[in-house]
């Protein structure tokens, strides 16, 4: 069993390890490191905050993050198809079409439910400039 054939792989693995460890060790030894309390405090444009910032972030940020993950993963799946697109022919396109349709449908639902709406267009001042003639019933 010629283990020798696997020598380059082992060497590459070791080299990678050595390089990683050396880089980390170099920066640990050379770079100065003194974590002062101010340095660990959150940065608020130079103002000293009295308490830690709030942990409860509005849910809208979480929604946008989730949507990004969904559509990003979708693109990754497309890669596999895109590489050999011509060999798959119409069957491939059909499969991907169905896959894409599902996701576009979720996008439509999410858009209609208002997850992507940062209520910019709901403002009276904005409406008056962007669509002055649209007769929207002003708040009483």
């Amino acid at each position: 069993m010629d283990l020798l054939a696997y020598l380059p792989i082992a060497l590459m693995f070791i080299l990678g390890l050595v390089f990683a460890v050396a880089a980390m060790w170099m920066s640990w030894r050379i770079a100065p490191n003194n974590p002062t309390p101010e340095k660990l405090a959150p940065y608020e444009c130079g103002i000293v905050p009295l308490q830690e910032p709030v942990e409860r972030f509005p849910v809208k940020f979480y929604l946008v993050a989730m949507l990004f993950v969904i559509f990003d993963v979708e693109i990754i799946f497309l890669f596999a198809w895109a590489v050999r697109m011509d060999e798959f022919g119409w069957a491939g396109i059909a499969a991907v079409g169905i896959f894409m349709l599902l996701l576009i449908e979720t996008l439509g639902y999410v858009w209609k439910r208002g997850a992507l709406d940062w209520n910019v267009a709901h403002r009276a001042r904005y409406r008056r400039v962007v669509a002055p003639d649209a007769q929207v019933e002003e708040a009483a």
């Binding site: 050379i30 002062t36 940065y43 130079g46 000293v48």
Partner: protein, 161 residues
């Protein structure tokens, strides 16, 4: 760097010189523009005088990603704690250039409102004279700081390297 070179193909240098060289050639300044000197600092950073030639490609806004703080302008009493806070939140190794007469000594405003010199608040490495110092003087200040870093030692070495 290293003085005499026997063989032109070899470059002999010490670790100190090597690391200092890397530090000086890509110092990112933190924008601490206060008053008129900030306009001259922006003009130095813009296309005509171009600070990018000295490795200062971009002015980082947050102190976390900045190595050099250029205090450009007059420091008022109300701004002093903010300056100290931003300086503390910068990661080592960090340096300070006090740009302009007002930052260095309170300048022409010797009154109740200004801190008479930034060095009362933060340790300053290079003072750039002028009111406001032209782009050339600021660049001269930056080059002086780079020479200063090259001469200094990187860290008190504690025995085993």
């Amino acid at each position: 760097m290293a003085g005499e070179v026997h063989n032109p193909n070899f470059l002999l240098t010490t670790l100190d010189k090597g690391v200092s060289w890397t530090r000086t050639r890509s110092m990112w300044p933190a924008t601490f523009g206060l008053a008129c000197c900030a306009i001259e600092m922006m003009a130095t950073g813009a296309a005509h005088h171009d600070l990018a030639r000295f490795g200062m490609e971009v002015f980082r806004a947050s102190p976390r990603q900045a190595d050099l703080m250029v205090v450009a302008g007059r420091l008022s009493q109300k701004m002093a704690p903010v300056l100290r806070q931003v300086y503390d939140q910068m990661a080592e190794p960090k340096w300070v250039i006090s740009m302009g007469a007002c930052a260095s000594t309170g300048g022409m405003f010797n009154n109740y409102a200004l801190v008479q010199g930034v060095d009362e608040i933060v340790p300053v490495d290079v003072y750039v004279p002028g009111c406001p110092p032209g782009p050339q003087s600021l660049m001269h200040g930056i080059l002086t700081l780079q020479d200063k870093i090259m001469a200094g030692e990187i860290r008190r070495s504690t025995g085993l390297l």
